[in-house]
Subunit: 784 residues, 2 copies
C-alpha cells in the first residue's frame, strides 16, 4: 500500500473522479457546557427533567457533573449541518434553563468546594450505577474541578462509498482487507494529526485565564489577571495544557498499527495507569460505532471514525463553536491524509506531545519555535503557513474551487498573521476590562436574549414547515430520534426506541383514523355528522341549478343568509342578508352570485368572529382569532410604507417558514383597497386600521391573536364535542361566536369547519398572546 505517498493518492482520486467525494464525510459534534446561576456560580440544581433519561436521550445529557450538560449531534453529511444542529441543541437547552445560563467558556465560572460539586446522578439500572461509579473514580483520581473543564469533540469519518472506491482501486491484487485499509487510512491521519495538532491549539485555543475558585495547585503558579482571575501570559489553552484535562503522566501509545495500538493500551491498563481506554485523554481517539468493549471492537471492526478532542469553547461565539473552525479541522484532517509519511517512528511522538504542551501554555507569542524532525528549528508562523498552503495545494491539485473554503483558510491565516486575532488575545483583553465572571456572564445573558428572538427555527430544517420544525424541536428536547422521510412533504419518523410514529405536517398522525380525516375533508359530510350530534352548523346548501336555488326560497325565508359564488376573488357576487330576505331580493342575490361562478352557496348567515380552537385529545389546547392583513395608520406613512414596516417584524416571513407571513400588496390586496376607494399610497389617519384582505388567513398576512384564556369554557366544550363527533384526536375547530362574553351558546355560535391538519406554529408564535407549546401537546398526545 502506497497510502503514505501524497502523489499516489492524488493519482487514484483523479483517476476515479471522486474529487468531490473526498470532501464528503460523516460529521458529528459533542459539546459540554457547565450551567451557572445568575451570579456565575456553578448551578447546583438538577439536570432539567424535560430532557428525560440521561442514559437514553441521545442529544442532551450530562457529562461528569450534574451541572455539566453535554449536547451531542447526530451524524451529518456536511460539517455545516452538524454545526447547525449543535446550534439547535444549544438553543433548546438554553431556553429550558430557569434563571440559569450555559457558561460560554471551557474553564468554569465560580466553583464551590470540591465536595460540593455534584457528580452526575443516574438511575438504579446497571448502566446507571456504572456511570456514577466511574465518575466517582475520576473525581477521586483527578478531582472534580478538573473534570468540569468543558470542551468540544468533533467526530469524523469518510463516506464508506468513497473509501470503498479507493480500496477497490488500490486493492486490485486482493492483497489487503478493507478493514486493514481503513485502519491504515485513519492511522495515517491520526499520526499526522498528532504531529501537526499544535496548530489547532493555536487557532482555536480559548481557555485562559481561569477563575480564582479553580484548583489552587494550578493557579498558584499563575499570574493574576483581574481580581477574580489568574493566567499565563502567553497561554492559549489551559484545558489542553499539562494542568488541564490530561492524564497524570505522558502515556506511551503506539500508533504504527492497530494491533500495536491495542497492545500499548492494554499494557497501560495492566500497569494500572488507565482503568480502561476511555481514561486515555488523547487529543484524538480511534473510535468504533459500537461503544461497548472498544478494544475488542477496534480489533474486530477496525477504526470506524476519529474523534478530535482538543476544541475549547469559544466565548465569542453564541454556541461556543465557530463553524469556520470546524470546517478548518475537516480540511486539516484531509491534509493529514495526504501529507507524506516517510517513515513511522513512534519515538518522535514524544516531541509532538511536547510541542502540544508548549503551544498550549506558551503559544500566543510572535516567535515561538519548534524543533523539526531533523533537529532544525522552525517558527510557529512558518509552520502554520505550511499547513495552510499544503491544504491549498491539495485542493488546487484536485481542482476543488470553493469560495467558502477560501474564506475558511483566510480566516485562520489571519490568526497566524497577527496574534492579536487569536481568540485568546481577544479574551484576555475582554477579561482584563470587564472581569472574568462579569465578561462571561454578560456574554451568556446576551446570547440568551438573541436565542429567544431567533429560536422559532430549527436550523438546518428551515425548508420544513414551521409546525414540523416545532415538533422536531420538541422531539429533540425529549431525546426522541427522528428521521426526515420526505422533506418536501414534511413527513417525519419519530422513534424513541419503544415506539415509532410517522407524522406528516406536524398534526397528521396515527392518532386519527382515516375515516375521521375523510369526514373532516368533506364539508358536506362534516356538517351532517355535526348536525346528528346536535352541534350547530350553518344551515345551507350548494347549488349548481339556478332554478333549484330560487325554488328553495322557502328553506331560507326565515333566517339571515349569505348568498355567494363558490369561489370569488374580490368578494364579488356575495350578498349578505342581515334581515330575513324577501323573495325578490333572494332571487336577485342568486342571479348575482351565478354571474361569478356556476356553483353557489346559500348559507345561514352567522354573526360574530371566527375562532380557531385546537382540540388535542379531550382538551382545547389553543384558541386563536385571526384578523385579516391590516395596517394601523400613524397619520404620516402610506399604506405601502406601513406594510413595509409591519413586515420587518422578525416573526414575519414567506412560505410558512416563519410564524407569520409577510403582507403582500398584490392584485388581491390592491383590488380590496380599490373597493374601499383607497390605494397603496393612501395615508391612513392615526390609529385608523385599514384592512388589506377579506380573508383572515395567516398565510395571506393575517394577524393571530391568542384567546385561549379568554373564551368561556362552554365553547371549549362545544369544540371538544365537535372533535369527538368525528372521533378526531387532533382537530382544528373553526367556530363563529357572536359574543364571547355570552356563556349561553344557544344562537351565539356555529361551527364553520373542522380541520384535520391544524397548523400549530400560529399558536406558538402569535402576533398577540403567548406560546401555547403545541409541539409539546402533540408529543404528549402521541404518548412520547
Amino acid at each position: 500500500m502506497e497510502l503514505k505517498i501524497k502523489e499516489y493518492l492524488f493519482n487514484i482520486i483523479e483517476k476515479l473522479d471522486i474529487n468531490d467525494e473526498l470532501l464528503q464525510g460523516n460529521f458529528g459534534i459533542e459539546k459540554e457546557n457547565t450551567r451557572v446561576n445568575k451570579n456565575g456560580e456553578l448551578a447546583l440544581t438538577k439536570h432539567p427533567k424535560i430532557f428525560g433519561d440521561k442514559l437514553k436521550n441521545p442529544y442532551i445529557t450530562v457529562d461528569f457533573s450534574e451541572s455539566q450538560i453535554e449536547m451531542i449531534t447526530p451524524i451529518f453529511d456536511i460539517v455545516e449541518n452538524a454545526h447547525k444542529f449543535m446550534h439547535n441543541l444549544h438553543e433548546i437547552v438554553s431556553l429550558e434553563l430557569k434563571d440559569e445560563y450555559l457558561w460560554p467558556q471551557s474553564l468554569p465560572g465560580i466553583l464551590p468546594s470540591e465536595k460540593e460539586i455534584p457528580i452526575a446522578e443516574f438511575d438504579d439500572s446497571k448502566e446507571g450505577k456504572y456511570a456514577y461509579e466511574y465518575r466517582k473514580y475520576l473525581a477521586e483520581k483527578y478531582g472534580k474541578k478538573l473534570q468540569l473543564l468543558s470542551g468540544i469533540h468533533f467526530n469524523f469519518s469518510f463516506k464508506d462509498e468513497f473509501l470503498l472506491k479507493l480500496f477497490n482501486e488500490i486493492n486490485k491484487e486482493n492483497t489487503i482487507s478493507y478493514k486493514d485499509f481503513k485502519n491504515e487510512v485513519y492511522l495515517k491521519i491520526t499520526r499526522n494529526y498528532l504531529k501537526y495538532r499544535w496548530i489547532l491549539i493555536y487557532l482555536i485555543g480559548a481557555s485562559s485565564p481561569i477563575h480564582n475558585s479553580y484548583r489552587e495547585e494550578c493557579i498558584v503558579h499563575m499570574n493574576k489577571l483581574t481580581d477574580d482571575s489568574f493566567f499565563y501570559e502567553n497561554a492559549l489553552s489551559f484545558r489542553n495544557s499539562k494542568c488541564g484535562y490530561k492524564n497524570k503522566e505522558r502515556l506511551d501509545v503506539d500508533y504504527t498499527s492497530i494491533d500495536a495500538f491495542i497492545k500499548s493500551i492494554k499494557t497501560l491498563i495492566s500497569q494500572g495507569k488507565l482503568r480502561d481506554i476511555k481514561e486515555y485523554y488523547s487529543p484524538i481517539r480511534l473510535k468504533t460505532k459500537n461503544p461497548k468493549n472498544p478494544l475488542e471492537q477496534l480489533s474486530e471492526n477496525g477504526i470506524e471514525y476519529l474523534e478530535i478532542r482538543m476544541l475549547d469553547l469559544n466565548p465569542f461565539n453564541k454556541i461556543g463553536l465557530e463553524l469556520k473552525d470546524l470546517e478548518f479541522i475537516h480540511l486539516f484532517l484531509i491534509f493529514c491524509l495526504f501529507e507524506d509519511e516517510k517513515e513511522i517512528d513512534m519515538k518522535k511522538f514524544e516531541q509532538y506531545d511536547t510541542n502540544h504542551d508548549a503551544v498550549a501554555i506558551n503559544g500566543n507569542m510572535e516567535n515561538i519555535k519548534f524543533v523539526r524532525d531533523d533537529g532544525s528549528e522552525i517558527s510557529i508562523k512558518e509552520k502554520g503557513y505550511f499547513v495552510i498552503n499544503s491544504i491549498k495545494d491539495i485542493l488546487n491539485r484536485l481542482n476543488i474551487n470553493n469560495e467558502n473554503i477560501e474564506k475558511v483558510l483566510n480566516y485562520q491565516k489571519e490568526k497566524i498573521d497577527n496574534k492579536e486575532k487569536t481568540y485568546i488575545s481577544k479574551l484576555i483583553k475582554e477579561v482584563k476590562e470587564n472581569g472574568f465572571i462579569n465578561f462571561h456572564l454578560e456574554k451568556a445573558k446576551e446570547y440568551l436574549e438573541e436565542i429567544k428572538k431567533e429560536s422559532f427555527n430549527l436550523k438546518g430544517y428551515e425548508d420544513l414547515e414551521l409546525s414540523t420544525q416545532i415538533v422536531l424541536k420538541e422531539a429533540i428536547k425529549r431525546g426522541i430520534k427522528f428521521e426526515i422521510l420526505d422533506r418536501e412533504e414534511n413527513f417525519i419518523l419519530l422513534d424513541n426506541g419503544i415506539k415509532k410514529e410517522y407524522i406528516k405536517q406536524a398534526t397528521k398522525t396515527s392518532l386519527d383514523s382515516y375515516s375521521t380525516v375523510l369526514i373532516m375533508e368533506n364539508k358536506l359530510v362534516t356538517k351532517k355528522v355535526l348536525e346528528k350530534n346536535n352541534i350547530k352548523v350553518p344551515f345551507g346548501e350548494h347549488y349548481i341549478d339556478i332554478n333549484k336555488a330560487k325554488k328553495d326560497y322557502y328553506k331560507y325565508r326565515d333566517m339571515k343568509i349569505v348568498v355567494k359564488p363558490k369561489s370569488t376573488n374580490f368578494g364579488l357576487g356575495i350578498s349578505i342578508f342581515t334581515e330575513k330576505p324577501n323573495q325578490n331580493d333572494y332571487e336577485k342575490a342568486i342571479e348575482i352570485a351565478f354571474k361569478e361562478d356556476n356553483s353557489i352557496l346559500i348559507e345561514e348567515y352567522i354573526e360574530g368572529k371566527e375562532y380557531r380552537f385546537v382540540v388535542m385529545g379531550d382538551r382545547v389546547v389553543a384558541i386563536l382569532h385571526r384578523v385579516p392583513a391590516n395596517v394601523k395608520g400613524d397619520g404620516i406613512k402610506t399604506i405601502k410604507e406601513l406594510v413595509e414596516e409591519k413586515n420587518k417584524d422578525f416573526l414575519r416571513g414567506e412560505g410558512y417558514k416563519k410564524p407569520l407571513e409577510k403582507i403582500k400588496l398584490g392584485e388581491v390586496e390592491q383590488m380590496f383597497l380599490k373597493n374601499q376607494n383607497k390605494s397603496i399610497d393612501y395615508i391612513p389617519q392615526k390609529n385608523e386600521i385599514v384592512y388589506l384582505r377579506e380573508n383572515s388567513n395567516i398565510s395571506t398576512g393575517g394577524d393571530s391573536i391568542d384567546y385561549t384564556d379568554i373564551i368561556p369554557e362552554i365553547y371549549k366544550e362545544i369544540a371538544i364535542q365537535s372533535a369527538k363527533a368525528v372521533d378526531a384526536k387532533i382537530c382544528g375547530v373553526d367556530m363563529m361566536i357572536k359574543d364571547i362574553n355570552n356563556i349561553n351558546p344557544e344562537g351565539n355560535y356555529a361551527i364553520i369547519e373542522l380541520n384535520f391538519n391544524p397548523a400549530i406554529h400560529i399558536h406558538c408564535y402569535p402576533y398577540q398572546g403567548k406560546d401555547r407549546k403545541l409541539g409539546k401537546e402533540v408529543l404528549d398526545l402521541l404518548g412520547f
Copy 2:
C-alpha cells in the same frame, strides 16, 4: 276545513305552486315470500343465519312462519327507488338460499300438515317470546296455512314539507291543529280507498288457483283446475277473498274521525273479536312511525302514514311486484285525496266490503256490476275507467305531464279493456298448461338464473362505485342500516345500532390510521419503511438532474435496470436493461428518458408478473393478476370486431360501475398497436393474443385473473408483512413475482407499491376465477 272538496284543493295547490310536491312522498314496501325446496314443497329449514337476528335486521326477517321470509325496504322519496330496493332484497335473499327458492306466488306451494308448518322462532328475549307467542295465538285461531298466505304491503305518506305548506294555507285562521289536519288528509284518503279499493284487486289480484295441499275447508268448495290445483272460475284474489287472509267476520270500524276509529277498535278488542289492532286485517291501515302501543300513538301523534295491504305477489314479475302497479297505487291514493266526499256515512262501508269480496272472488268477468251509493248499478269497466280518467283529470288540471304516468295509466287501462290481460287470466292459462307447482317452480328457477347474472349491481345505487355497492349489499344482508353521506364521493355510514362506521370507497375506513395511509400514499416513504422491514423493493431513485443521474452510474452498474420518464404515454423513452448496463448505454438511456419528461426514474428491473394481493387484517383475502387489455384472434375477425365482441360481456361496463371495463380503442391503444405494426383492422390469427395497452389496469380494459389459491403461502406471508410494516389493516400489495412455483422468495419477488384503497369489485367478479366475497371480508374486519 274544505278538504273534502276537490276544487278547493286544486286552488290551494295551484296557488302555492306545489304541484310537483304533490307527487313526492315517502314510500316503503314490505313483501313476504315462502321458501320452497326444489320440489316446490314448503322448505322446513331454518331462516338463513347470515341474515342475523330476526328481530333486529330491518330489511330481511321472517313473517309468521320460519319458512316465510319478509323483506322490508327503507323509506324512499320516489316509488321507483323503493321498488329497486325491494329488487335488491329479493336478489340478496335469493342468492343466499341453498337449493331453495322464493315461491313467486301469494298462495303457497306444497304444504305439509298444519302441525308440521314451522312457526317462526325467536330468541329468548322478552320481545322474542312475545313474537313467538303471538304467532302461536294466530296459528290456533286462524290456522297456520292461512297465515302462510304471502303478500305485499305498500307504505305511503306525503312529505311533511308538502303537508305543512297545505296546512299553513288552509289554517290561516288558526282553527285546527296540524295533527288534526293530517288525520283528516289521511282519513279522507282511507275512506275513498275503502270505497274504490276493489279496482286494485281487479288490476293486481293474482292469487288463484290454489294448491291441493291448502286448507281442505277452502278447496272443498272450489273447482279442480289441474291435477294439483283448485280454483274459482272468475276469482282474482283468493288471498283478498273471504276465505283468504281476513278476520273471522266483518268488523265494524269507524273511519269518520281518528277518535271514532280508536273507539271502534277498542270496542272490538273489548268484545274479544281482536286481541289488538294488529289483528285487524284491514285492506288499509292507519299507521304511526313508532310501532309500540299503536292506539296511543295514533291518538297522540295522529296518522303518520298509510299501509296498503291488498297486493298479491305477481308471479309474472321476477320479484313478484310490478313497478307500474305500485306507481298506479300511488296515483290512486292521490285520486283518493282529491275525490269529493259529499258526506260520510259509515253504513255505506259495508257495501264497499261486499264489493271487495265480490271482486276478489268473482271479478274476472266481463260484466260484473256494482251498486252505486244511490242504489243504481254500474259495471266494473265503467267504474274502472272513471277512476283512471279522474286521475288523468287531476294531473291535467295541475299541469303535471309525465310520460311515465301515461304509461302507467295505459298499462292499467289495458287490463280493464280486456280481461284476458289481467294477471289472473294469464296465470290460469299457465297453470292449466303446466300445472300449479310446475309453473311456479319453473318461474322461481328461471328468476334465480336471471338474478345470478345481474346481481353485481345494487339497484338504485348504480351511480356508486361497484366496490361500494358490494359493501352496501353485504350490509343490507346483515341488517346494517346505512346512509349515503356523499354519493359522488362514495361516502357511506353503516350503523347497526351498536357501532357506526364511516366508509369511503369501500376500503377507506377507520381501521387504518391516517399516518398509515400517508405512508402508502408516498411511494418514497413506503419504500423506506419496507426496506427497514427487510422487504424487497426495487432499488432506485427519481432524478430531475441529468448529471446527477449519470454520476450515479456506480449505484446501478451491478443490476438489471429500467430507465424511464416519470410519465410516458406510449412507452416512449423507456429503456430496459436485462443485463448489467455499461456506462455508455446507461448514459444514453438517461438522455432518452429526459427527452420525454424532466423527471425520470432509474429503478432496478424486476422480472416477473405483477400480482395484487389484498390483505385484510392478518390474512390475504384475494390475489389477482391483471393482464393488459387484449383480444384473442379467431383468424376471421379484425381487432376492432374482437374488441366489440369482448365488450359485449355483461361484466364489462364503463366508469367503474361494472366489474370489468370495456376495452377502448382510443389514441393510446391505437398508438400501442402501431408500435406493433398493427392497426385496429388487423385480423389476428387463431389464438393469437394481441395486447392493446402496456398497463394492465382493469380500468383500461385489462382482464382480471384470480390467483388466490395458486400463489404459495410464503408470498402471502410477505404481503401480510408488508401491510404490517405500515400498520395497514386493509392494503393492496402489488408484488412482482418471477416464478410463482418457486417457494424461495429470495430474488424472486419485489413489492412495487402498497395501495390504501384497493378496489374490491375486481376480486368479486374476476374475468377468470371465483368471487372472493370481499364485501363480507370488509364487514367482518370492521367487526359487524
